[in-house]
Symmetry: C2
Subunit: 309 residues, 2 copies
Amino acid sequence: MATELSQSTLKEKSQLLTSLNTQNLLDSVDAFLFDCDGVIWKGDSLIDGVSDTLDFLRSMGKELVFVTNNSTKSRRQYAKKFHSVGISVSEDEIFSSSFAAAMYLKVNKFPKEKKVYVIGEEGILEELELAGFTPLGGPHLILLSIVLCTMLHLLQVGAVVVGLDQYINFYKLHYGTLCIRENPGCLFIATNRDAVGNLTDLQEWPGAGCMVGAICGTTQKDPIVVGKPSTFLMDFLLEKFNIPTSKMCMVGDRLDTDILFGQNSGCRTLLVFSGVTKESDLQDPSNQIHPEYMTTALSDILHLTNNKF
Amino acid sequence: MATELSQSTLKEKSQLLTSLNTQNLLDSVDAFLFDCDGVIWKGDSLIDGVSDTLDFLRSMGKELVFVTNNSTKSRRQYAKKFHSVGISVSEDEIFSSSFAAAMYLKVNKFPKEKKVYVIGEEGILEELELAGFTPLGGPHLILLSIVLCTMLHLLQVGAVVVGLDQYINFYKLHYGTLCIRENPGCLFIATNRDAVGNLTDLQEWPGAGCMVGAICGTTQKDPIVVGKPSTFLMDFLLEKFNIPTSKMCMVGDRLDTDILFGQNSGCRTLLVFSGVTKESDLQDPSNQIHPEYMTTALSDILHLTNNKF
């Protein structure tokens, strides 16, 4: 529970969530933006109390938005996952980094006749197709990629999108490297650079930062990052919800993506300790990112407001 | 040929190799240090004129040393490769980054009872074993690595060595990440950070910089680099050859490893354009590394001295 957090953290800039400031936060915020992994669920397991807390916030008339850096699913696939864990969320309340990658190409008028090579999973492929682009690659490209390598100059790859890929191999990395190094003007887009994530609720696994780091290593270039902490997706949120960012609160488990995204966008911020960040990470002298509020888990919002849920 | 290089490069700090300065270089240097990939061979194909040039240099009494960042082979395996392409080189004339990784652990008194997890190929495993260490992992670790992940706290991994691994996969990256992130004091050693290399003579492939970049991405740590441009190996060379570095000339095809290694060590330097560096890379305004001399290929030394070979 929130009260178990050590008092030493209070000396930092962040405030522990209390009954009083939770009420103030609820009074002043019209939309809550949630990260998913480590806030809503861990792998496929819903975190305790999340469902009731979301119901409570909806009952108060708050807009709920889900902003996830995990690119393995499309918005449609995320809506299905929410449904499977008993939470009703519509596709257009979900802003995933897979969607962000497709929107980046669309907004920047990427030519439809050019190909997009994907080091990543189904979510990116689906979002690219929905946006009218032609993806190559994806999770199960192994032997095909060897063939592709010999066809480099036949294929008009104009962008490489790199996200989390549990099926990463040398040939995928080779082809992505060749496209970026040898095709003039080829874009290098990263869905995100999360170091690790929770693919299951048992253990941390490499995040997209792994695959992105590999391609940085071979191309010696920095990617265009479209997921958090980049504020690229905020324009889409503002267009949909028409709420100023000062009346939004970003809730996340990660300092360098969620909280930084909230701060970069001008949102209020709440860090939860149900994911990858430990209290000691926040206190570490090397950490420069301090959320406005912090608490143990999302359900503290419910418990601290003494409501009937 | 050397004379075909554009005159514009001459405006930079580097001198094109000529008959005169080649003779001066030969007169003032007692040992030639060669990179292998892109200087001696490309993949398994010997570069034209290399064998005669090495014979010529030996006939002049020069010491020959081979300093390679390619960690896929051990010194013994490199000596075998030299033999297979018709060049006689002894093991102790070879200084590979696989050997460097093992020597780094030895010099730093790494405890023999601790394990070394390897993301890399046979060369690293063999050198670690020769130095008395216990490696885990290596190229063909796929299913085993899933099992290893569940045994993390049983295995006393005190160092992770990352080099070129053509069999890279998610589970290897996961295990390496866990060791560095969760085992207190676990060392993160990179054999080298070459972006690309020539595994065949046809095309560039990802170098160790790919796998090292991936682990940097998941651990957010910088590795200890033991290969070029680190001067770690120079102490071993000095001990063996007893020649001051000012009387050594480093010959390489790569600015950020070979030439920088030479300069960091106080050697003379010669860049050859038979590998990954193009003349345009040298001229690029962003390039800060300029060799003392440059030429098309190693055999120019032979051609420019009008010798009888």
